[in-house]
């Protein structure tokens, strides 16, 4: 580990608003150490260097505003640190020997990572990133839940971005399955994510997970901070799974970063023409990302083997019309427990999400019968609402 003073200066430097990884790297290359940078900011050497670089390259290496902040840091570095302490965060720096190996693959690696929760989680084996759109379809949400549940059974820690949509579904499914999860947020810890995820955040911490950020606690997330955050998600995951990504989705950025890091990327394909998966299909066409064809195949490709029973041999036939319906293998015993009409409705839902009208049309049952069957399944917890449709849950979602 670096000597304490240099480490503190390093954290203070990285916590300076406007001073990002690139600027930090250049400053360090010029001045040698974080302490020297701060000293230089105080005595004007940084100003001189800035003018010099501007002359030779035509562009200053650091904005005037950031330079002002840097001077403020130099005059009272402790102030920058105090904020992190007050939030009860632990901090890792790229100087530390025990810095997550996965993040070192980034160039440059994030100078500082602030962690709420268990920092050791970043060192666990089997981290997989599960990302996707903020506006998933019921099918996408269901797929995320299924994949996460299966991964957790194999001892995987799920990494995602704590956004609404697939991210949230992935975190929530992890907690539900008794797993641990890492949330990489786009702002500081004082601005963690949408209000709707308040309970989810508490759950992540309570179950031994972590919420991490490269920003000091006060940073307000902006449009630009999210793409940067995605490189951390990509680096933390040994593999990345993309569930649904429209064109220009942030999930595509995560996937591309993962591919740059030569990490495997699995993309759930969609129907041609669906907006929700247009970006995912483009990814499959234009990059070496691999299609996700089933849960068993995913586990096999990852080389992870479940602690539970072997499943590969009892895979169900792919359901009609379902998009990449991964292994509905274990639902038969659950279905057998149901009454006749409930079973008919449940069987239809196992094949894919459906609204009430589709259920009536597809099962041929009377609307009154379908309605009471759905209520029954809802009460059992075997079906859950997702947007305008219903999806299977509990023992039916295997």
């Amino acid at each position: 580990m670096a000597e304490p003073q240099e480490r503190d200066a390093w954290i203070a430097l990285a916590s300076t608003p406007g001073v990002g990884d690139e600027t930090t790297a250049r400053l360090l290359a010029r001045f040698g150490s974080a302490r020297e940078v701060l000293a230089g900011a105080a005595d004007g050497r940084v100003d001189a260097w800035r003018a010099e670089v501007r002359k030779s390259e035509g562009r200053p290496p650091i904005t005037g505003k950031a330079l002002g902040e840097l001077r403020r840091t130099a005059s009272a570095p402790a102030l920058r640190l105090r904020d992190i302490e007050q939030m009860g965060l632990s901090t890792m720096t790229a100087l530390d020997a025990d810095y997550p190996r996965r993040l070192r693959d980034l160039d440059p690696p994030p100078a500082v990572i602030n962690i709420m929760g268990d920092a050791q989680i970043l060192f666990r084996p089997r981290l997989v990133a599960v990302v996707g759109t903020r506006r998933p379809t019921p099918a996408g949400r269901l797929l995320a839940t299924r994949i996460v549940r299966r991964l957790v059974e194999c001892g995987v820690t799920i990494v995602s971005g704590l956004a609404v949509g697939i991210d949230g579904a992935a975190h929530a499914a992890t907690l539900e399955a008794g797993g641990r999860t890492v949330a990489v947020i786009g702002g500081g810890h004082r601005h963690p994510s949408v209000r709707a995820h308040e309970r989810l955040r508490a759950g992540i911490i309570a179950t031994g997970g972590a919420i991490i950020s490269e920003h000091p606690p006060d940073t307000v997330p902006r449009l630009g901070t999210f793409p940067r955050r995605n490189r951390i998600i990509a680096a933390l995951g040994d593999a990345t799974v993309v569930i649904e990504a429209p064109r220009r989705s942030g999930a595509l950025i995560t996937a591309n970063r993962a591919l740059e890091l030569e990490r495997p990327v699995f993309v759930a394909p969609g129907r041609v023409g669906d907006w929700a998966t247009a970006g995912a299909l483009a990814l499959l066409r234009e990059t070496p990302a691999r299609p996700l064809v089933g849960l068993d195949e995913l586990i096999e490709d990852l080389g992870y083997f479940a602690a539970g029973p072997e499943r590969a041999d009892q895979r169900a036939a792919p359901a009609k019309g379902a998009v990449a319906a991964p292994g509905n293998s274990d639902v038969a015993p659950a279905l057998a427990m149901l009454g006749e009409t409930e079973r008919t409705v449940a069987t239809r839902l196992v094949a894919g999400p459906a609204g009430l009208d589709s259920l009536v049309a597809d099962t041929g049952l009377a609307p009154a019968v379908v309605s009471s069957a759905v209520t029954m399944l809802l009460m059992r917890g075997w079906v859950q609402p997702a947007g305008p449709a219903y999806i299977v849950a509990g023992p039916l979602a295997r």
């Binding site: 903020r134 506006r135 379809t137 019921p138 099918a139 609404v164 709707a196 429209p246 669906d274 907006w275 929700a276 999400p353 609204g355 009430l356 009208d357 589709s358 259920l359 009536v360 049309a361 009377a366 609307p367 009154a368 019968v369 379908v370 309605s371 009471s372 069957a373 759905v374 209520t375 029954m376 009460m379 609402p385 997702a386 947007g387 305008p388 449709a389 219903y390």
Partner: protein, 528 residues
């Protein structure tokens, strides 16, 4: 000479007796109307003078004083014209009063013809209660006036007809007493169609009725509509544009059971006061009102200078259909909460206060968000983050809570849309609805299932023991309030009535729980 006659005024939906005293005395020619007249009534002076002259009588060159008593009631409208004119003729000795005793209602035109006025039915009913058995009404209002028992209502076309009636067969009508023909400069070159009612204002233009058999798919929503209409339950349809919400609502007129006698009279009285009753007599069709979402507060709730009934009252005993619920004025929507609960609307203004009945069934349709695609797997929602939430928040929680049934509708897949299989016709479904309603009315002593009082729900819903357990189980899992438990029981009762079973069973309870679809509840939907 002094002449007195009787006419009536509308106050809310009730008529009130008004005495008209006319004094024709020597003096400078003038006409004064006293007794709280409004603007339309003050102008009666001019109409009456023109009408008397052009009907062939003489307008007396004397001092005419018209007093309307009682003086504390505000007199509105032009229904007194006829009484004033006839009174002047009698007071100026141009006609002599015959044996009969007449009350008179009607507006005059300058040519002396008698024009229709709104509210004839309740006004005649009031006159009858007060012992007036013979009433002269405008010809166009004759049919509705005759709905009142024990009254001889005679429709007249002109002031001269009215004068002859009052004078009696042996009475004297003075002077030339012949109508002066008007010089008609504008006249239609083809005769106007005589059949059919004149259509109401553009805001309330009736929707073309649609038969259920013409609607493809949407079997769940069709069934839900059937349950709603059979039990009088308020229904909310939520779905993207093109899902068929409006089309489904347009089948409602063809599915509603006819009005019974008492209801028909109530509905006819309202139509009469609203000025929507013309040549037709008793209204037997349940009202179906579909005001546009730009309708103002007053249009929806009622009010204005004349304190007229709004759409909510005009939909009394029928269905008020609000398409694009979230686009309506929020204060106007919230004003509907009271009538939804009480069946009565009280309109209080500085110049008066009226109570209108408004026991309507509310059927509403709305999109899940501004662009309509929220939650649709095929089409992308173009709303920004948080916008769908703001959109549904425009309908207040308490109003949403008044919907017993909330249904999510989705766009039909093209294959179903082109499917030729014809489903049941409106006539078949209507028969089931009528039967279920009849059964419920007998059991509930005249109430629809939706209006069962909380105290009677337990007894009248007659749950089987198993159904009771299922309901308790459901309530516990969903943290259901007492109100929502009762709601499920009422809807379950209707489902059982449609199946013609005496007791409510487990399947009915579960199906009823589903009809308040959490998927359709915009609040819960957003949380998912």
């Amino acid at each position: 000479m002094l002449a007195t006659l009787v006419t009536a005024v509308i106050n809310g939906l009730r008529g009130e007796l008004v005495r008209v005293e006319i004094d024709v005395a020597p003096g400078l020619p003038a006409c004064h109307i006293v007794g709280l007249p409004d603007a339309a009534l003050s102008e009666a002076r001019e109409r009456v003078r023109g009408a008397i002259r052009n009907a062939g009588f003489d307008y007396p060159a004397s001092r005419i004083t018209v007093n309307l008593a009682p003086a504390d009631i505000r007199k509105r409208g032009a229904a007194y014209d006829l009484a004033i004119a006839v009174g002047i003729l009698v007071a100026s000795r141009q006609i002599r009063r015959g044996n009969g005793s007449w009350a008179l209602l009607g507006e005059l035109s300058l040519s002396g013809t008698v024009e229709a006025v709104p509210g004839v039915l309740p006004m005649v009913a009031t006159l009858a209660r007060q012992g007036y058995r013979r009433v002269v009404v405008p010809h166009a209002n004759e049919a509705e006036a005759r709905l009142v028992n024990g009254v001889e209502a005679i429709g007249v076309e002109g002031l001269d007809d009215a004068a002859r009636l009052v004078a009696g067969p042996r009475g004297r009508t003075a002077g030339r007493a012949a109508r002066r023909p008007a010089v008609e400069l504008s006249r239609p070159s083809v005769p106007p169609p005589t059949t059919g009612r004149p259509s109401s204002s553009a805001l309330t233009a009736p929707l073309e009725p649609v038969d259920l058999a013409d609607i493809r798919g949407q079997q769940h929503a069709r069934w839900a509509l059937e349950v709603a209409l059979a039990g009088g339950h308020n229904l909310l349809l939520v779905g993207p544009p093109g899902a068929g919400k409006t089309l489904l609502a347009r089948t409602i007129p063809g599915l509603l059971p006819p009005l019974d006698d008492d209801e028909a009279l109530e509905v006819t009285v309202i139509a009469s006061v609203a000025g929507e009753l013309r040549d037709d007599g008793l209204r037997r069709d349940r009202p179906f009102r579909a005001p546009h979402h730009t309708s103002s507060y007053v249009a929806l709730v009622g009010g204005g200078p004349q304190l007229l009934p709004g759409e909510a009252t005009r939909a009394h005993r029928g269905v008020l259909f609000l398409d694009e619920l979230a686009e309506f004025d929020r204060p106007a929507l919230d004003a509907l909460r009271e009538p939804l609960e009480e069946g009565i609307l009280t309109i209080a203004r500085a110049h008066g206060r009226v109570r209108y009945p408004a026991r309507f069934q509310l059927v509403a349709a709305m999109n899940p968000c501004r662009c309509g695609n929220f939650g649709d797997p095929q089409r992308r929602c173009r709303c920004s983050t948080g916008e769908p939430e703001r959109y549904v928040r425009r309908v207040s929680g308490p109003l949403l809570d008044r919907f017993d049934m909330q249904i999510a509708m989705a766009r039909l897949p093209p294959a179903q849309l082109l499917d030729d299989a014809r489903l049941e016709t409106s006539a078949v479904v209507r028969e089931r609805i009528c039967k279920a309603r009849a059964v419920a009315l007998v059991r509930n002593v005249g109430r629809a299932n939706a209006h069962l009082p909380a105290a009677a729900v337990q007894e009248l819903c007659a749950l089987t023991p198993a159904a009771g357990r299922a309901l308790a189980d459901w309530a516990e899992r969903n943290h259901a309030s007492g109100r929502s438990i009762h709601r499920v029981m009422r809807v379950a009762r209707t489902i059982a009535d449609l199946a013609a079973t005496v007791q409510v069973d487990v399947a009915d309870i579960l199906a009823a729980a589903q009809l308040r679809d959490p998927q359709a509840n915009p609040d819960e939907r957003l949380a998912a």
